[in-house]
């Protein structure tokens, strides 16, 4: 009874402060709008029209066919013809082109023999976006006969054969990282990254940033202003305080989530193919997990600046290892292990599944439990770490 009263007292107080704090309120609304705009419009990851040049030593119908196919992808614009691979490398070095296509004199013969990697692709590896785009070109398959198909390609499509390779010799001389086409699965068809597929991930990213910061600041601010000294001298229990600090921000998180979904729909036509209820359930688990992370943060941070730094410390791996930035399956296994520990990884899977593929919670429910586990572990650590003392 007393415990509930204290708990509600904290919830009510926190809520009042929240409503009166213009800056926090601005953050709740402002961050989603800014982030959505930046990621949605400014960072156009759907790369097209990279400048490219060809060095065609084969000069056969087959080689011209390959060039035409490359051109059709619209990923590259062929702006010139070089006299040889050396010149292509030079042009890349000078920044005149991003991609060089090398077709050797024996291209047709290689193709006939069913050789792997009959042609080469030189890519300016200093720009990861270019590298990613080049993968699309590298994944191209050229028409051939049954006899020409590689074993891998047979599984999916017998008519095609891959036609790109890295020029390993070039790497020694030039700081140009080639893309080895066959590192990538033949049947890999890079998802065309666009605003529609970025928003479900961005939903989790924005929530991670704001939620962790919110509860961290909610405690640290009391420490800074001296009100914590008063609060911990009352009979209030740590668990009442901590849960009381979380609850108002769950509401904030859900409001923010709605705002992002609404804006995403309005600005980019992001669909909701699955059930909104399922999405909100996943969101609830995810928000709570992040809020608890914020509480843990506050047991270390002495002031708001430190809280901010520590939030960033958690935010960075979340962005990088959750599958938001880079495809999860393409990451090294240890990085995947870390990724599995991060709430964002699981929420990303669920939000993409529900929003884009129309999955139901029962289909993707296995990502719900890690969030619950994360919450329980973090909350336990917080309750153990937070002391009603100043030392």
């Amino acid at each position: 009874m007393n415990s509930l009263r204290r708990f509600f007292a904290i919830v009510r107080k926190e809520f009042r402060q929240l409503v009166r704090d213009r800056l926090t309120f601005g953050m709740i609304v402002g961050i989603p709008i800014i982030q959505l705009t930046i990621f949605g419009y400014a960072i156009n990851t759907d790369v097209r029209h990279l400048r490219a040049a060809v060095s065609d030593d084969s000069r056969t119908d087959l080689s011209r066919e390959l060039i035409a196919m490359v051109r059709e992808t619209q990923v590259v614009d062929i702006i010139g013809h070089a006299s040889g691979p050396r010149q292509l490398e030079q042009w890349i070095k000078e920044g005149r082109i991003s991609v060089g296509i090398v077709i050797p004199y024996d291209y047709a013969r290689r193709l006939e023999r069913g050789e792997d990697r009959p042609a080469q692709l030189l890519v300016d590896g200093s720009d990861p976006i270019v590298g990613q785009a080049a993968v699309q070109v590298a994944g191209l398959r050229i028409p051939g006969t049954k006899a020409l198909a590689t074993s891998r390609a047979t599984d999916t499509d017998e008519r095609f054969h891959a036609a790109a390779v890295a020029a390993t010799a070039a790497t020694q001389q030039f700081p140009i990282n080639p893309v080895t086409a066959f590192e990538i699965r033949l049947d890999y068809n890079p998802e065309r990254i666009s605003a529609v597929s970025i928003v479900p991930g961005l939903l989790g990213v924005i929530l991670t940033m704001t939620m962790v910061l919110m509860t961290a600041v909610a405690i640290v601010r009391e420490r800074e202003r001296g009100t914590l000294e008063m609060l911990i001298t009352t009979p209030v229990k740590t668990v009442e305080l901590m849960v009381g600090k979380i609850v108002p921000y769950i509401g904030v998180g859900l409001v923010q989530m709605s705002l992002i979904l609404f804006l995403g729909h309005l600005m980019f036509g992001v669909p909701v193919r699955g059930s909104l209820l399922h999405l909100y359930l996943a969101g609830l688990a995810f928000i709570t997990a992040n809020l608890t992370m914020g509480l843990l943060n506050s047991t270390f941070a002495q002031n708001q600046f430190q809280a901010m730094q520590m939030t960033f410390f958690f935010f960075l791996p979340s962005i990088l290892l959750s599958g938001f930035m880079f495809p999860f399956d393409g990451m090294p296994v240890p990085a995947q292990w870390i990724g599995e520990l991060l709430p964002l990884t699981h929420f990303n899977r669920m939000s993409r599944g529900i929003l884009l593929r129309g999955a139901t919670l029962s289909e993707i429910g296995r990502d719900l439990w890690p969030l619950a586990a994360f919450f329980c572990v973090m909350m336990t650590v917080v309750l153990l770490r937070f002391r009603k003392r100043l030392d």
Binding site: F8, A9, R12, R20, T227, E229, T233, P235
Partner: protein, 321 residues
């Protein structure tokens, strides 16, 4: 120390020590505060007043020594103690973005005061501390005196048996300070023990008993009057036309602890071991070829304070030399 010891002592400390790294903020403090009295902590900045109060509230753990508050050991019964104490922190610690009423309601709720009781108590406190018409005002916009009265009201909302006040009257004008002390005596009258820290001599003098702290050590204790009386005839006054020269001369004289100028008069405190203070000062004046009338004076609490702190200082200098 048992829980339910029916003790006449609200606070008892033995050898209470708190170190922060190499700094000893509170050094082997012994203390006994009788129930139903106002006990003062007098000491300069950094003498360990706040640290001691925090240890009593269970906010800091002692590095050594023991203490019991309301008969309960501070090391093990911190939570039980918290239910029965009120603590007004040195730094204002209520929510500036909430109104007066909201703050009182919040503190009442977390202190576990039942709803009906809370309403009555808040009404009473608002009336007593003249905050009725400030009710709906955000606390951040209150004046210093209003903030202080609100902080006291908040510390009293659950009717604690023991009240800790850490420099409650800094940022408050003299009239408000006087009123504040009237309030303290009212509270004390109703049976609440009060431990109050201060820099002000006049406030310290009002306490039933007083501990003087310096560099974390207890350098004086007992009722203020007794402490003053113990000074005996060690204070003399000098009337002279050349007070500045006289002050310089007396400062140098052996056996003189401190010289303070009050207008044309000099207030002189002599060392404990000086046999005849008036003669000592007269001789010192004559040696410096200065004319003045020397006569015994009534010591005040300030002299007590100076006597203990300067004596300690000089002792340290001697040790160093």
């Amino acid at each position: 120390m048992t829980d339910s010891l029916p003790s006449a002592l609200a606070i008892e400390a033995h050898g209470l020590t708190r170190r922060f790294g190499s700094l000893t903020a509170v050094d082997r403090l012994d203390l006994a505060v009788s129930t139903g009295t106002i006990h003062g902590f007098l000491g300069p900045n950094g003498s360990g007043k706040t640290t001691t109060l925090r240890m009593f509230c269970g906010l800091l753990r002692p590095s050594a020594g023991t203490a019991s508050v309301l008969g309960m050991d501070i090391a093990h019964k911190a939570e039980a103690i918290r239910r029965r104490i009120g603590y007004m922190t040195q730094r204002f610690s209520l929510y500036e973005d909430l109104t007066v009423l909201e703050n009182l309601q919040f503190v009442g709720e977390v202190q576990g005061v039942p709803a009906r009781k809370r309403r009555e108590k808040i009404d009473e406190l608002l009336a007593t501390y003249r905050l009725k018409d400030r009710c709906g005002q955000r606390v951040g916009t209150l004046s210093g005196g209003e903030k202080q009265r609100l902080a006291l009201a908040a510390a009293l909302i659950h009717e604690p048996d023991l009240l800790f006040l850490d420099e409650p009257t800094s940022a408050v004008d003299p009239q408000n300070r006087r009123d504040f002390w009237e309030n303290l005596f009212d509270i004390c009258d109703r049976g609440t023990t009060i431990l109050v820290s201060t820099h002000y001599m006049d406030e310290a003098e009002r306490c039933h008993s007083l501990s003087i702290l310096d560099y974390g050590q207890l350098v004086g204790s007992g009722p203020p009057r007794e402490q003053i009386a113990r000074l005996g005839n060690r204070v003399v006054e000098v009337e002279t036309d050349t007070p500045r020269e006289a002050q310089t001369a007396l400062h140098r004289a052996a056996g003189v602890l401190s010289v303070a100028q009050l207008g044309t008069q000099l207030h002189v405190l002599v060392a404990e071991d000086a046999a005849a203070p008036v003669e000592l000062v007269t001789r010192a004046m004559r040696d410096a070829n200065l004319i003045g009338r020397v006569h015994p004076a009534r010591p005040g609490l300030e002299d007590v304070f100076v006597a203990v702190t300067v004596a300690r200082c000089k002792a340290q200098h001697k040790e160093a030399a």
